[in-house]
Symmetry: C2
Subunit: 677 residues, 2 copies
């Protein structure tokens, strides 16, 4: 035999690599770098699977996570759910095979998508402790549960089952997995505790129970009995499709004609759109898609790009929604008594590489949040908290790259800003582009980054608006306090000196104040704490008769579960939590009090109510905001006129002619103590 050439020598070493061996050697890619991260990843993959399968089966999730110590270096992780269970023949595949699952090919939002996560945990457990995964699963139809002990054989990428059995189980259905792995337990940042807390924030329909190695038991109770709407599978949207992708779709399509392909294999194209595309691309619609020449594919893509499309349907997505974002943040941060919750921002759906996505943002400011620390960034993708790889994540990058000085926060160039702020960012997509299989960081893609930026900017603008309002209010409140406290004292003192009766200062005060003030307080012992009733008192400290209208935005649950108000509201919107009251005319110095009684058992803070007043311009309003434009309410003519007059009045130092003005001037002249001081 002649000696091998170098090229042949090298060729003889070339061979296929099993996916199992690949991940065995590169387990850090799957999130199993080190013992503490490995623990978190294992818990996360199991819990995500549990919640996913419950939602698919329309079951309210109940998940138990229990971590206990085996030896100094080994922990046992148990995750048990009330999901639909797994049929016996699939148990080995689901847990013992990488790249095997149900959600990869479905084009809808899910926590797990890759069919890697839980099998990777089984692989890691086997590698580090040589202990098989112990799985118990029962489906409703079966009388007993199936028990399977298995390893993942990395060379074959198949389960190596070492034991099979059946077991009487008291659950009607559910799945339990037990893993023994090399791991380290810790609380705090990047811990299973943190992960479960985050999961509770964005999955208020789930009940989570966590037992720590020292026996500490924490339960996150269900905060809503409503399962989120099931995300629907839809075909890819033409936006962002690449030439080669379209080529593949055409070649693999079972549609017999191009017309059929456009209407069933793609989403978002109307009938009109289809005929536009056919016309622009010079197609008849009867072409066979599987035999397209490269030139034809290119022509079709150009025509698709050139035709206006409907916004992608959000049916395949399951965003958290503004109400639950706010509630979630309140659950976690309530004890820090933040002074401001930005209205959560939910961007309209956009498309990345044919996959619809939505970005949602929540922002909380002030209270006991530390003002000398970087903003706390809570990252979520498809309702899963992201705890590792913060530096690699497009969410972090986008926040750091923004100029926060313009929103009133300190910032060192290119870093996360500093301030008493918690920022929640959620990216929901049929396919979140993660930087690795460990699903810890969102990759930097122009379209997703852009949406994150827009959403965060909106929240930041709200914060800025709040900060400037606060400044204005603080100034007004200061004036209010000084006038209310100092003037009467001055009057008393002066009266004593000149030996005259103390005059009634109400009108003077009113003239100086020149605002309509709204004061909200709870009925409890501490008026600032949650209580079963909240009262809102509106006082007209201006010298004009004020036609005004009160509007409230309440937490949705309160509206749904039935609150009551006295005087009675005019309209109540169940979807938006918006409440309107009839027009009131307030004469100078007159007060009106609205009392809100919350649903039984629910205690509310005055801060949970957003208060808006129409008929008074911002300069003359204290403790409430003018009605925002997005309410789209038709105001009575009197209010519109009053608001216009108020604006004119605000622009001039003296009252406008024709205003219903009460003349205090005569009285004031007699009692102008201020001048005599």
């Amino acid at each position: 035999m002649p000696p091998k050439s170098i090229a042949e020598e090298l060729a003889s070493k070339q061979k296929a690599i099993s996916i199992g061996e690949f991940f065995e050697r590169n387990r850090q890619i799957l999130g199993f770098d080190n013992p503490s991260r490995a623990l978190l990843t294992a818990v996360k993959e199991a819990v995500d699977n549990s919640i996913d399968s419950c939602e698919e089966a329309r079951i309210l999730p109940e998940v138990l996570v229990e971590i206990s110590k085996v030896t100094e270096e080994r922990l046992k992780v148990v995750v048990e759910d009330n999901g639909p269970g797994i049929v016996r023949k699939q148990i080995a595949n689901v847990f013992g095979r990488l790249l095997y699952g149900s959600r990869f090919h479905s084009n809808r939002q899910a926590r797990g998508q890759q069919g890697i996560g839980i099998s990777a945990a089984v692989l890691y457990a086997g590698l580090t402790t040589a202990t098989p995964a112990h799985i118990v699963s029962k489906i409703e139809e079966d009388p007993a549960a199936n028990v399977v002990d298995l390893f993942l054989d990395t060379q074959k990428n198949l389960a190596r089952v070492v034991k099979e059995d059946v077991l009487a189980w008291d659950r009607p259905h559910g799945t339990r997995i037990e893993l023994v792995l090399k791991a380290r337990y810790q609380r705090g940042r990047q811990s299973p505790f943190e992960y479960l807390k985050g999961t509770a924030i964005v999955n208020p329909h789930a009940r989570l129970v966590f037992v720590e190695p020292d026996g500490t038991r924490t339960t996150w109770e269900r905060a809503t009995p409503d399962l989120p709407a099931l995300a629907k599978e839809i075909p890819p949207h033409p936006h962002g499709l690449e030439l080669g992708e379209l080529d593949q779709m055409l070649r693999r399509s079972s549609s017999k004609t191009l017309q059929l392909f456009l209407s069933t294999d793609l989403s978002g194209i109307s009938r009109r759109g289809i005929s536009d595309v056919l016309q622009k691309g010079e197609f008849t619609g009867r072409e066979n898609p599987s035999a397209f020449s490269p030139e034809r594919v290119e022509r079709l893509l150009a025509a698709l790009k050139d035709t206006p499309m409907a916004t992608p349907s959000a049916e395949c997505l399951s965003p958290i929604g503004p109400m639950l974002i706010k509630r979630g943040l309140k659950n976690v941060l309530g004890s820090l008594r933040p002074e401001f919750y930005s209205p959560p921002v939910s961007r309209p759906p956009k498309v990345h590489a044919g996959c619809p996505f939505i970005v949602e943002v929540g922002l909380v400011y002030g209270g006991d949040l530390p003002s000398d620390q970087p903003v706390q960034l809570l990252r979520f993708a498809n309702r899963v908290p992201l705890l590792f790889q913060q530096g690699a994540c497009a969410i972090t990058q986008t926040v750091a790259d923004m100029d926060w000085h313009r929103y009133g926060l300190e910032q060192k160039s290119g870093a996360i800003p500093v301030g008493p702020v918690v920022l929640l960012v959620h990216v929901a997509s049929t396919k979140v582009p993660f930087t690795s299989e460990a699903k810890e960081a969102v990759a930097h893609t122009d379209d997703i980054t852009r949406e994150i930026e827009l959403a965060v900017q909106t929240a930041a603008r709200n914060m800025k608006l709040h900060l400037s309002r606060r400044t204005r209010r603080d100034q007004a409140m200061e004036k209010f306090t000084i006038i209310q406290k100092i003037l009467p004292r001055m009057a008393q003192k002066a009266s004593g000196i000149v030996d005259k009766p103390v005059p009634d200062l109400t009108r003077v005060i009113t003239r100086i104040m020149d605002v309509v003030a709204v004061e909200a307080k709870g009925s409890g012992e501490d008026p600032a704490k949650p209580s079963p009733r909240t009262s809102l008192t509106l006082t007209n400290y201006t010298s004009r008769i004020r036609p005004i209208e009160l509007f409230l935005e309440l937490p949705l649950e309160s509206v749904k579960e039935g609150f009551s108000a006295e005087p009675a509201p005019e309209t109540v919107s169940q979807e938006l939590g918006r409440v309107t009251f009839p027009l009131q005319k307030l004469t100078p110095n007159a007060k009106v009090t609205y009392t809100l009684t919350w649903p039984k058992g629910e205690e509310m803070e005055a801060e949970d109510v957003d208060i808006f007043v129409a008929g008074v311009d911002e300069a003359h309003l204290l403790g409430a905001d003018p009605l925002p434009g997005d309410w789209d309410v038709r105001l009575p003519a009197a209010l519109v006129e009053a608001a216009e007059n108020a604006e004119i009045a605000a622009a001039r130092p003296t009252p406008a002619e024709g205003d219903e003005e009460v003349d205090y001037d005569a009285t004031e002249k007699k009692e102008s103590f201020a001048d005599e001081e």
Copy 2:
């Protein structure tokens, strides 16, 4: 048929996911997030493969990279090398199949390891432009080159060959790949230019030619004709082996007995070690490894952990080496004229998960490097520059987590320090744990992180030492300047006033200076620029006779290629570039000049020479450093004594008794103009 239960319904959707489809949907994991990163990744994968295959075939690499514009959104990338070529039947596998390659199973350092990179580039090109990869490859034995045009079929994970041909090619052997992909060209940070520049730094044996879309041609010439030693394959080291890994190794081993397994399937265990392991684990050595019970595996692992092992062999690694790190940094940073190059740090080999690794660090300080910017961090893994995912990388994290204030740099807590510093960190391993298949960031594992920290700390300490030396030298130099310039002027002025001849101040100056000064300069027009000769002048500005000895550390190539010195050196070390000269006695005010003539064609800067002097303590030395301890040179008795005396003298204000002191006092008394001023 009865209706399906939920669990059965869900089970019916479960299926295997092709690795091709997985990466098709998750191309961001492979580094193809966006058009500019995709371009860099494609170039990188192709060039890394080229250099790897050249090194394996012991060929000095010559790689051409050419990028040209096809349309506004599409670029064509050509990478051509002089490697051994690929045999015809393997071309389709190497370029058209993910997880196929020669380096995954070999336990030695290589750029590519996963068998994913170049196929991923082919996949991306097909997806975005529906254009096949065009490959030309010729092996030495064949008369002509093979030409193959192919796509990667993601469903099958196999090449779909669309054209095959042969072609007369003027190269004796080599490979050329042409890809058309959706990409964006840019220079600057994270660009192909940057990547190639970095590659040139750490691969000085490669010649790289780069042609940009506008036709600009850049060549990085070979800086050394020596190929790095070929890294050898070695079996895994027992350190860091997990129980499950050992279990698998045993079951898969072809060794018939445990004794054989220990000596051939693992590395680093001596004969003595083997008998220790057998004894501690209570084995005979004749056990069949493939039939070990879990208990036995555990016992074996415990015995392995309990037995001292040799440091892992570094033969499987190919570190850059201190000399080439320094030279590489000089090549790139020379124009910024840094004032200090830290001696590069190369840590001894350690083991992570059975795989040996080495951390190397270079540090450059000062000159025209910006002092108000974060330290520039150059990350390398297995001689490949890492340009993306800086935030996710253990190298970045480790540098940011260190406390840099103690080394004299500004730093905001947890951030990269600020200062005129370039820091090069190279991790070389048989298996670098990357955070994703894109191989852009090193994952955070305790043992690698620890080594990075130790190496960077050493370099940082050197920098700190330099900074304090610089401060001392600056002070001495200031004194020197003042004395040399001001005193003579004063003398002249005073002489004029009193109408006396100007006295000779040399001795006064000497008495005040009290140092041995070393001045290095080039022979060219600008003494600070590279020139064919460098002169070193030593002047004894002390009042003692100084026995001194000069030591130089020169760039290795200069020593190898033959430099000459006048007076002639005593010894020259080829390996270390260290040069020693015979002992000299310098009387007060005496000078001696050494002239170094560099090899033909080579111009050197004075700064390229590290100058050390023995016989004078640091306090009396200007322009050179005392001989470091690691030189391990036996000094003549006179020098040792002189150094000891100097130390004693330095501790006292007056000269020590018995010193060979010349008495200037009489002279000084007559000429003490300073007092008369």
